[in-house]
């Protein structure tokens, strides 16, 4: 015991790293204070806070393949590598003027940042954050996702294109441009199996679908004209597709300008249903297992969360976690969901079976919640 203690004192981070895994760890972005709160989902508690991450007003995170490090992308172009075990900032660079997010490669060796200013992506070594290459796009990059084959896929808002980048030789990435993908893509995602990329379109009714097995075949429009001929409702916050809701053969997608969740059947890529919900959906996220889909909303309905039953395609529950619900994230097997309420400075944890509130954590202006289990998922 005594020897152990001495050894321990000799190692700087011994007490905080201890002997533990990261499978139940994650972080919550504190968007106004440039910090992240580190959390664990077993006892549902805060285990640390890392500061000095810059402007996190539209921040997202991906994880190293061993689940130890989080890469946090900030609005100010900051890319911060956070050690979840020692609760420290491992390294940080400011790589652009205005950034929107990023992704990590299939092999975990490359971290890619998606930027608005200058429009483009930058590819970094995941260990050192050394810049390996840059691709300029002359347009805002949205909806970046990783795809099998060390590829990255993203859309260009002003150009209406989808680009597929093969980064298997990261200093000489190869770009495949898919022109005329759709008007004003606002976000995109890769299906959990890594095969399809879908871009949501703001400038037209529908989504652009790209088969990543055959990118040369170009895009196909799906759910075309889902609101055609009807006056769109105001969209006070852009929907996000990155938390995709894939439940079995169905994909659940926020309609733009309509208070509906659209259901796309992967068999044939046809509309299977449209489900009326309380407001403009922002995130529609499938509970692992695919039985339910949880939805949050833009103003003025952003104090609600609704739950859709996939079996009946109906809303079966409405919760009021707090004011300005910005994000929700499930534990990997779906028994808990973590929900951020920005204006109540709270993260609320629910039991997904009973809807009972399990915990409430004080977090300052929380936005995105990112659990380390994402390390093992394609698309991030």
């Amino acid at each position: 015991m005594k020897t152990w203690l001495l050894v321990c004192l000799g190692l700087v981070a011994c007490a905080s790293t201890g002997q533990r895994g990261t499978g139940d760890l994650g972080l919550v972005v504190e968007r106004a204070s440039g910090s992240v709160v580190l959390v664990e989902t077993t006892k549902r508690s805060e285990i640390g806070r890392v500061r000095g991450l810059g402007d996190l007003s539209h921040a997202s995170a991906v994880f190293s393949r061993d689940g130890r490090y989080a890469y946090v992308f900030g609005r100010d172009g900051g890319l911060s590598k956070v050690d979840l075990l020692s609760a420290r900032l491992d390294r940080r660079i400011v790589q652009a003027g205005n950034s929107i997010g990023g992704a990590i490669s299939q092999d975990g060796k490359l971290v890619v940042a998606a930027n608005y200013t200058p429009g483009g992506i930058r590819i970094f070594d995941a260990d050192t954050l050394e810049l390996l290459s840059e691709i300029l796009t002359d347009a805002k990059v949205v909806g970046i996702a990783d795809a099998p084959g060390n590829r990255f896929v993203f859309s260009l808002f002003e150009l209406g294109e989808i680009w597929v980048v093969d980064a298997s030789a990261p200093r000489q990435p190869k770009v495949t441009r898919i022109a005329r993908a759709g008007k004003q893509p606002y976000d995109g995602f890769v299906t959990p199996d890594g095969r399809y990329y879908l871009a949501g379109l703001f400038g037209e009714d529908g989504l652009a679908l790209l088969d990543l097995w055959h990118p040369g075949d170009g895009v196909r429009r799906v759910l075309q004209g889902y609101g055609r001929g009807e006056e769109p409702l105001p969209v006070y916050k852009m929907p996000h597709l990155r938390g995709w809701a894939a439940a079995g053969r169905y994909l659940f997608l926020p309609a733009v300008g309509r208070h509906e969740v659209l259901v796309l059947d992967r068999a044939g890529w046809k509309e299977a249903a449209r489900i009326p919900v309380r407001g403009q959906p922002v995130f529609a996220v499938a509970q692992p297992g695919g039985r339910r889909v949880w939805v949050n909303f833009a103003l003025p309905d952003n104090d609600r969360v609704q739950v859709i039953d996939v079996d009946t395609m109906q809303v079966v529950q409405e919760l009021r976690p707090g004011r300005a619900v910005l994000h929700l994230e499930f534990t990997p097997r779906g028994e808990q969901v973590w929900v951020s309420s920005r204006d109540d400075d709270t993260v609320v944890v629910y039991d997904t079976a009973s809807y009972a509130e399990l915990a409430r954590l004080p977090v300052e202006k929380p936005s995105g919640i990112f659990l380390a289990a994402r390390a093992a998922m394609t698309g991030f």
Binding site: Q184, G203, M238
Partner: protein
């Protein structure tokens, strides 16, 4: 209404419009929060821009106030800027424009 540029004009405006339902101090605090947090979703929390353009004083000072009010209330067709008239009144939009031109309080 034609407006002069500069701080003097803003004072004049504040005095002139105080009769017409100027937002109360409590509402102003809410509006500052709404601009920073909710407009900030697209324009950036520091208002330096994102999907939407910068709303910093240097970017908006030279623009016509009435036009900016119109954009806030009615949106901009062909862009993601939504019409806020369901959530904001005309005096509130006017107050937001004037405040943006001076710099949004922290």
């Amino acid at each position: 209404m034609h407006r002069l540029a500069g701080p003097l004009a803003l004072f004049t405006l504040a005095a002139a419009s105080s009769a017409a339902a100027e937002p109360t101090p409590a509402r102003r605090a809410e509006l500052v929060d709404l601009v920073r947090q909710d407009c900030g979703a697209c324009h950036g929390m520091t208002l330096k821009g994102g999907l939407g353009p910068s709303l910093e004083p240097a970017a908006v000072a030279g623009k016509d106030s009435e036009q900016l009010e119109f954009v806030i209330l009615h949106g901009r067709r062909g862009t993601p800027m939504p019409p806020w008239r369901g959530l904001l009144t005309e005096p509130e939009a006017r107050w937001i424009v004037d405040t943006l031109k001076q710099g949004l309080p922290k």
